[in-house]
C-alpha cells in the first residue's frame, strides 16, 4: 500500500499549562517515516525531541497538524468508527520512555510484561507466548519471571520495561534515550536489541540519543532538532558531512570520524568519513598498508 508508514504534517505543539503565555515547543514539523527504517533523533536538551516522540506515539495531541499511521489519522477523530480505527492504529506504536523502569508496578516481572497484551484482550495462551518472546528478545532469563521488579538492577529493570512494550509487538517502536544511565554493556545490549528487532521482526525504530556514535552505528536516517524545529532529516552520512549544520545544531561528529580527521590533518593520506569503529579501523589498516 502506498500510504504505509508514519506521516507527520505541519505539526505545532504548545504546552499551555504554562504561566502567562503558552510555550511553543514544536514548530511546523514535517516528516515521513517509512516502514523498516531505523531513525536516530539528535538535538540539544530542550530542543523538543521528547515532545515530538510523544506526538508521534499518539500520546500528546498536537495543537495543529496531522499525524497518520499507515494512512489513519490518529488525532483527527470525528466519529465512533474513526475513533476505533485511530485506537487500532495507535496500538501499532510502542513508546519506551526515558527512564522507563519507573513505570513498573506489578508484583512480578511476568505480570508487568503481560500487562499490555492482557489489556489488549489477547487470549491467555497468546499472552504467555508474547511474554516469553519479549523476555527472550531483551535477554532476560526465564527464572526471573516471578521476581518482584523492584529489587532488580537498573539495567534489568529497563529491560523489563522494554519487554513490557515489546510484548504487544508494536510495528513502530519509539525509544526516548534508551541507553541513558546504563553501563557500557547495558548500552551495547540495547543497541543490539534495536538492530535485532529491526532485522528479525521488521520493526520500524525511532530512537532519541545523545550519542552520535550510537546513531552513526545503527541508524539509516537521522533527524536533527533545534529550538523546536526540525532542521534536517537526511541520511546519517549526509548529516555528519555537513559541518555548518552540525555547528548550528551544536552536535559533534562521531569520535572515530573526528579521530581520522586529526590523522588526515597530520598529513596522513586517509578518508575520514567513517561511521563505525570497524569502518575506521579498516581505513587505518588500508592507509598503513598503503
Amino acid at each position: 500500500m502506498k500510504d504505509m508508514g508514519i506521516e507527520i504534517k505541519n505539526v505545532d505543539f504548545f504546552y499551555d499549562d504554562n504561566l502567562i503565555t503558552p510555550h511553543q515547543s514544536l514548530f511546523d514539523i514535517n516528516l515521513s517515516i517509512k516502514e523498516g527504517e531505523i531513525i536516530g533523533i539528535a538535538g540539544k536538551t530542550g530542543s523538543g525531541k521528547s515532545t515530538l516522540a510523544e506526538v508521534i506515539a499518539g500520546l500528546s495531541r498536537p495543537s495543529r497538524g496531522q499525524v497518520t499511521v499507515d494512512g489513519v489519522d490518529i488525532y483527527g477523530v470525528r466519529n465512533r468508527e474513526e475513533s476505533r480505527l485511530a485506537r487500532e492504529a495507535k496500538r501499532k506504536i510502542g513508546m519506551v520512555f526515558q527512564y522507563a523502569e519507573y513505570q513498573l508496578f506489578e508484583e512480578t516481572v511476568e505480570r508487568d510484561i503481560a500487562f499490555a497484551p492482557k489489556e489488549m484482550m489477547f487470549s491467555k495462551k497468546t499472552v504467555e507466548e508474547r511474554v516469553n518472546r519479549a523476555m527472550e528478545l531483551v535477554g532476560l532469563n526465564k527464572n526471573m519471571k516471578n521476581r518482584p521488579p523492584y529489587n532488580l538492577s537498573g539495567g534489568e529493570k529497563r529491560r523489563v520495561a522494554i519487554a513490557g512494550i515489546l510484548a504487544f509487538s508494536p510495528k513502530y517502536l519509539i525509544l526516548d534515550e534508551p541507553m541513558v544511565g546504563l553501563d557500557a554493556k547495558g548500552q551495547r545490549d540495547i543497541l543490539n536489541l534495536m538492530l535485532k528487532l529491526n532485522r528479525e521482526e521488521n520493526s520500524t525504530i525511532l530512537f532519541i540519543s545523545h550519542s552520535m556514535e550510537n546513531i552513526a552505528e545503527i541508524a539509516h536516517k537521522m533527524i536533527v532538532m533545534k529550538d523546536g524545529r526540525l532542521i534536517v532529516a537526511d541520511s546519517v552520512y549526509n548529516v555528519f558531512s555537513d559541518k555548518e549544520l552540525l555547528k548550528t545544531a551544536g552536535l559533534k561528529r562521531p569520535k572515530i570520524w573526528e579521530f581520522l580527521d586529526r590523522l588526515k590533518s597530520c598529513g596522513i593520506d586517509i578518508e575520514s568519513d567513517a561511521l563505525s569503529e570497524e569502518e575506521g579501523v579498516n581505513r587505518i589498516v588500508s592507509a598503513v598498508n598503503g
Binding site: Y15, D17, N18, L59
Partner: protein, 263 residues
C-alpha cells in the same frame, strides 16, 4: 520546568514587599473567618479581596486559575456528588436516587469556599520566593524548639514538600503517558477496572517519591548540610508590613460587622 502551582512570579508590589512572616500570619485569620462566617457575607467580600490583591500585585488572572488546577477534581466531586446526599426539594431522580436543590446549594457553597481558600493561599507562593518562605516558616515554627524539634528542619521539610509539588505533577503526567503507551486507557471500563488501573499510576509515583526523598537526604548529607548555614540578618517591620496588617484587620472587622449586623 514550567508547570506551576502558584510558583513565584517576580514583581515589586506591596504584596511582594511585605515580610513573608507577616503574610503567613495574616493568612491564618483570613482563612479562619472564611470558614466560620456565613457564605452570604464572605463570598462577595473574599471574591472582591482576591480581585483586589490580584490587581495590586499584578498577578495575571490566568496564574490564579492555574493554581486551582491540582484541586479541580475535588471541586468537581463536591459539586457533582453533594446534590445526591442531602434531603430537600427534589430536582430530578436517577435510579431512585434524588438530587435536591439544597444539596446542589451545599455543593456549590463548599466548592466555592474551597476555591477561595486555594486562591487566597496561592497569593502567598505567587508573591514570595521559596527561600524567603522557608525562612518565614522557620521563624514561625520557633516554638517547636521547646519540644526538641529543630524548627529549621521542620521548615526545610515543609518547603521541600512545596518545592516538589510541581515535580511530582510532572512525574504524574509522565507516568500516565507511559502507561497509556502500554494500552491502558484510564477513562475506560467499569469501576473496578478503573480502580485497578489507578494502581498503574499510584505505585510508580509513590516509589519515585520515596526514592527522591532518599536521594535528597543523601545529597544534603553529602554537602554537610546543617542548620547553621546561610543565616540571614533579622529584618525589622516596615511601612509595608503595617499597611498589610491594617488592611487585613479592617477587612476582617468588616466581615464580622456584616455577619452580625446585616440581618
Amino acid at each position: 520546568m514550567n508547570i506551576t502551582l502558584g510558583q513565584y512570579i517576580d514583581g515589586n508590589s506591596v504584596l511582594h514587599r511585605t515580610d513573608p512572616k507577616i503574610k503567613l500570619m495574616l493568612i491564618v485569620p483570613l482563612v479562619f473567618s472564611l470558614f466560620i462566617f456565613d457564605y452570604k457575607v464572605t463570598f462577595p467580600t473574599y471574591t472582591a479581596l482576591i480581585l483586589f490583591l490580584a490587581r495590586i500585585s499584578k498577578i495575571p488572572f490566568k496564574s490564579l486559575i492555574i493554581s486551582l488546577k491540582p484541586v479541580w477534581w475535588i471541586l468537581a466531586f463536591t459539586l457533582l456528588l453533594n446534590p445526591f446526599f442531602h434531603e430537600g426539594e427534589i430536582l430530578f431522580s436517577i435510579f431512585k436516587i434524588s438530587a435536591t436543590k439544597e444539596g446542589a446549594v451545599t455543593g456549590f457553597v463548599m466548592a466555592y469556599r474551597f476555591a477561595l481558600f486555594i486562591l487566597l493561599s496561592s497569593f502567598l507562593t505567587l508573591t514570595t520566593k521559596t527561600v524567603a518562605l522557608t525562612d518565614a516558616v522557620e521563624d514561625i515554627l520557633k516554638p517547636l524548639k521547646l519540644v526538641n524539634i529543630s524548627p529549621h528542619y521542620a521548615a526545610m521539610t515543609i518547603s521541600l514538600a512545596f518545592r516538589f509539588v510541581p515535580t511530582t505533577i510532572h512525574e504524574y503526567e509522565q507516568i500516565v503517558k507511559a502507561q497509556k503507551s502500554r494500552g491502558i486507557y484510564f477513562d475506560e471500563g467499569g469501576i473496578f477496572r478503573r480502580i485497578k488501573n489507578m494502581g498503574a499510576i499510584v505505585f510508580p509515583l509513590m516509589l519515585l517519591t520515596f526514592q527522591r526523598a532518599e536521594d535528597l537526604s543523601f545529597a544534603l548529607e553529602a554537602r554537610c548540610y546543617n542548620e547553621n548555614r546561610g543565616k540571614r540578618k533579622q529584618s525589622r517591620m516596615n511601612g509595608n508590613d503595617y499597611l498589610a496588617i491594617a488592611f487585613i484587620t479592617v477587612f476582617i472587622i468588616c466581615n464580622i460587622f456584616l455577619q452580625f449586623y446585616s440581618h
